[in-house]
Symmetry: C2
């Protein structure tokens, strides 16, 4: 598309058209994200019935002012398109009417445009040779400018301007309000008679709009969707369905309005309805194919590919939990999607959109998704984003909303300075039988502590020294309490909670494993936690891939990568053995057959394509390819490859500047990076050799080598 | 309409249809008001250019849950209509699909309906024999109900339910989102050639949509509106205009899209455009004709009638300031409209709508209309509303938003506990040349003090004892400061302000006159204020009817009713003598001709139909007919008639139960009331006589008589 466009410009020397290439639709930051997420999250149906979220949905500002000052080099004409009613001022002087074109004179020109739209987000697109809408425009939702009785404007403005929000709406005719994900045709792999109806199989779990070809007649179609065959055939209990009235004399193709998740579709006809075949329009978010992983282990490769497809399906307008059921944005789930994304598509726009949509806007009256832990993951996600992308601008934009959310949290602490579930607070942690949420749960204090540290880091980054001192102090105070109140010296582990000010006896994995990769523990404590909790079968096992993610991460962080490789293969491999084409919301190997599909007391309640199921992408990228940034945006990073049981592996890890390419066998490491300075760690029985790299010995069998951008390194070593 | 409807029901015994009569559309309280006020306030144009407000416009909640529990006497069918996507639960069990009809069984039934709508207000209409939407339904914008892994709902809800908002949308097909004020045809009184165009005169200032009859041809119409002839002919400077492209081969009537204010319209044609004549669709709020006033003074009667028409024009979707220019809801202006309304239409719905629209919703980030004094009038308006209507339910509904607004105010006090204009605060007071807004203005402290007293009164009414104690304490503290900091013992008056902690020398009317009718002054202080300020020509005169209202009210309160009658006749009579058909935003008798029309540095900047110009309605009702409630909702009230220079007067004062009828001449008083117990005050040289009333002597020439509901009293007395 882009290539054609430039070609066109070149041919006709159409300056105006080319200039438009650099303009983009802008809005009040977060507003499009709020609006689009409302739209997306209210598409859920349960057996045909509308099923919306239970938390407050925010709304866009209906009246927004945009402005920017330009130094126009020569007279130029600008074109203005807005979603909404608007007016235009140039250097404070109102232009009559609602001009679509405007001539600007050479010189300093301040363009101010006010857009009103109650139905959807006020958005603006201005394009000219040099005057174009961009993220540098300033916006406000109240200009607080009044006049006195002589018409003189007030000199005491209280207006707060922030930088405009934007995405990829780069053409004047691509209206933000018309946003839709793209689709492409996909065919079913089989269609068979079953009972009184037809069972269609699309070969793997998928997402989109069903098309009935050559649909004709009068009557009704009943369409039952299933992520499993059992679900599609379970017409009384399947989670999603469509009942369609048909009344058409001539046959035409008909695509349904609402996208659904399914592998199987079971269709029953009533009356004299007929159709030719069924296909689908696969609906997807276009994401560049950047991360890659391949190894000598075919099962592991399959796990990676199925995880990748699971991520593809759950990456939509925003990162959602699962494709069949909620289709909502859950902060805890999204937090993991972000992490996987850093090793796959490195799609920063979707991370930012999701963070903004989750936060919504003031007033802050409840936790994100009403879940206390989900508020904390939201804080954590922001610093992670900065670490991987180096995008300080976004931290700057979101910082005020971080502050107000933290204010909300701190105001909800009890007299001991701890957070417990108040009325309306959902303490979630994990789906686990009988997990107590009572009293002051240690896990929540741990996450709050980490969130306060995140606030301090961001404050420091933005040079907000007073803030930094405050958040630092609060974090340290809470960390001390964490150990004082929850570390049990006898058990040598954190206990789960305090009730009525007293430690309970219960030890769970959550706080302990997070404390490991938050690096809160001494070596001694870490070893104790490993033995007493993580590798202790008497401590309640984790059944969700959601918490498996953290469990395995903490084991990796403690060097148990062989064990984790084994676990990964048995747990995710276990789902593959059961025919999974996407990874599940929960997996208990002890169950069998259709038992696997039940959850929430419903026969097919479980989501079989759940984003948190895709974590091998993250684990393989970070702990086996071993790539992670050590300073923001990969200015420095570490490559610490670990083969475990593999003979070889190769992969790509995306960075802001391109991909780090890595090949690792038992004898050779090849690496090429487009960015910064990496430190390659090499475990080798003898000193490794490299033609163009400098090997430094750290200890008996550990070496490092600096990796510089643009150089293809080869290292020979002996594992 | 209603009569036909009942007739229809009677004929067909259609229980369902009759039952619908008792259902009404409901929404989250305040949301329709916010939505409609956004719509209305963004209709302003200035010379054809969109001209929106400069404060934040709020927005509705996009996802709202409605519920109510019913005890259904026999099985019944209900019909459901919603503006938006919805789902229905009965006793917590989801009903499949989006049902338009539903059968309810006899017995306890809890109906819960969730409606989603991003474009406009989620609204609901349910009608059945006994199950109907009404103001008693409970609503929330977040239900905060989650489930655990077994599907069990949480037992720790944090949901806040409030009573539903509603108005008069009593038919299922009267969608709130389709709301429009009614219109009726009005003809011009003259149409004359003028220069190259046509000048049309509608005989008086009016408001509505212009219609061109038999419009035909190709070209352009330029339409210039004027509240004065000069303005309509001032094509380069008139405030509002329309440029209309015409391209029609056959002639049809064409009514313009946007309503405008005008008495005169000047029309110029370009190209071969032709039309037959011009009429208009007068757009109005239907308000019952309840208050009345007539007297022996024809000029005064005219003043009352023109004030009434001014109120009619400025009472629209909400009470607006003026019809030509802003067409916005200004709290200070609305506060006066409410008061006039209590002596005219007694239209409580419009008062409530306006109060809700002004307040908007959280977060509170600025003063109402950005004006500090306008925030305070908002508080004052609520207790006034209660006093006149006795509607405690509304106080209950609005109290949380009162609290949060007061919190906002108190947090903005300086170290001395006083409010001064911070960045973004407009200190308005009045349009007056050179009026200082610097430092701590005494007027703002006075209004804050009164607002705190209002909070205490409301808290007491709602039995919020802690709140009452708090607000009481704060009010008393501030009152003490008011006298300590601003009362100047030498000048025997309040000074205008403190700057850098020091009293200024300046004395203005504002604080002094408000202190009178707030009853903050001792008798001695009152007399001093009257002499030194109110009747002192060296103190800057008031030029706006806005502040004239309070000035005259304070003089009335001090018994200067003869003087006020004279002032009223000269000031408002002065506008009439200049040909006013509605009352103005500002009137300076010293100006002449078209000078009167200038304001804000613009030739026709002044509004010639401004709600605050209509105050004679209030003054005549409250201080001459002399009727005012002494307890909430006219349970008790006072009738203290005063003829001043009149031979006789008669009038009606509306109450929640009907009108108090009053006739007063120099010899006779006739009174009949539909409500409560009134105290008629009679000044008489000899003991008055009444057949059915009991006269009690108070002092030498003052008597009282109790007035009971439903009794027609006649009193003979000697003035």
């Amino acid at each position: 598309m882009k290539r054609y466009f430039f070609f066109f410009c070149y041919l006709f020397s159409s300056v105006m058209l080319c200039a438009q290439e650099s303009a983009t639709w802008i809005w009040y930051p977060g507003d499009f994200e709020v609006w689009l997420s409302n739209d997306m999250q209210n598409r859920r149906t349960e057996r045909g019935t509308f099923f919306p979220p239970f938390w407050r949905m925010d709304n866009h500002y209906v009246l927004v002012e945009f402005h920017k000052e330009f130094d126009v080099p020569t007279d130029e004409e600008i074109a203005i398109v807005a979603e909404g009613k608007y007016n235009v001022k140039v250097n404070g002087k109102m232009i009559p009417g609602m001009p679509a074109k405007l001539n600007l004179k050479k010189g300093k020109q301040k363009i101010t445009i006010k857009v009103y739209n109650q139905g959807h987000v006020p958005a603006l697109y201005v394009s000219g040779k040099t005057v174009n809408t961009s993220k540098d425009w300033l916006v406000t939702f109240e200009d607080k400018e009044w006049i006195d009785e002589t018409g003189k404007a007030s000199d005491q403005s209280g207006t707060t301007y922030v930088k405009a929000g934007h995405w990829n709406f780069d053409q004047p005719t691509r209206f933000p309000s018309k946003f839709k994900l793209p689709t492409r045709l996909e065919q079913a792999v089989s269609s068979t008679k079953h009972g009184s109806g037809t069972l269609v199989d699309f070969g793997k779990n998928t997402f989109g709009f069903l098309t009935f070809h050559q649909l004709k007649g009068n009557g009704k179609l009943s369409v039952y969707y299933g992520e499993s065959k059992e679900e599609a055939l379970g017409t009384a209990t399947c989670e999603t369905l469509d009942y369609i009235e048909v009344a058409r004399s001539s046959s035409t193709d008909s695509t349904l309005d609402l996208s659904k998740a399914f592998r199987y579709v079971y269709i029953e006809k009533q009356g004299d309805v007929s159709f030719d075949q069924v296909s689908m329009q696969y609906e997807y978010l276009p994401v560049e194919d950047r991360g890659a992983f391949k190894s000598s282990d075919e099962e592991l490769n399959n796990i990676w590919e199925v995880a990748k497809y699971t991520m593809e399906l759950t990456s939509r307008e925003f990162y959602i939990d699962g494709i069949k059921r909620d289709r909502w944005i859950w902060s805890g789930d999204a937090y993991q999607s972000y992490a996987m994304n850093y090793y796959l598509g490195f799609d920063s726009e979707t991370v930012k959109r999701t963070i903004l949509a989750l936060r919504g806007k003031e007033p802050t009256m409840s936790h994100i998704n009403t879940i206390m832990d989900y508020t904390f993951y939201w804080f954590l996600s922001i610093y992670d984003y900065y670490q991987y992308t180096g995008d300080k601008e976004f931290i700057e934009a979101v910082y005020p909303r971080m502050q107000s959310l933290m204010e909300f949290c701190l105001a909800r602490r009890n007299k001991d300075g701890l957070m417990e579930g108040l009325s309306g607070d959902w303490v979630f942690i994990d789906w686990a039988d009988g997990l107590s949420k009572k009293g002051e749960v240690s896990f929540e204090q741990l996450l709050l502590c980490r969130s306060l540290e995140t606030m301090a880091l961001c404050a420091n980054l933005l040079q907000q020294q007073d803030d930094q001192v405050f958040y630092d102090k609060e974090a340290k105070l809470l960390k001390t309490k964490l150990f004082d109140y929850y570390w049990n010296p006898t058990k040598q582990a954190f206990v789960h909670s305090r009730i009525n000010g007293k430690q309970t006896e219960n030890v769970t994995r959550y706080t302990n494993m997070f404390a490991v990769f938050f690096d809160y523990l001494s070596n001694e404590q870490q070893q104790a936690v490993k033995t007493n909790v993580l590798l202790n079968d008497r401590v309640q096992k984790i059944m969700t891939p959601y918490m498996r993610y953290y469990e395995l991460e903490s084991l990796c962080a403690m060097g148990e990568k062989d064990y984790v490789m084994q676990e990964m293969k048995s747990y995710w491999g276990g789902m593959l053995k059961l025919g999974a084409t996407t990874f599940w919301e929960e997996f208990n190997p002890a169950k069998s057959g259709a038992e696997h599909y039940t959850m929430y007391g419903r026969e097919f309640g479980k989501s079989l394509c759940h984003s948190w199921g895709a974590s091998p992408i993250y684990l393989l990228g970070k702990y086996y390819l071993g790539v992670k940034p050590t300073s923001a945006g990969y200015q420095t990073y570490e490559i610490d490859p670990y083969l475990a049981s593999l003979q070889w592996m190769e992969g790509k890890v995306p960075t802001p500047a391109g991909e780090i390419d890595l090949y690792v066998s038992e004898k050779k490491i090849k690496v090429k990076s487009p960015i910064g300075v990496g430190t390659l760690k090499i475990k080798s029985k003898s000193k490794p050799k490299s033609k163009n790299g400098t090997i430094v010995q750290l200890d008996q069998d550990t070496y490092t080598m600096e990796v510089h951008a643009g150089v293809a390194y080869e290292v020979d070593y002996r594992l």
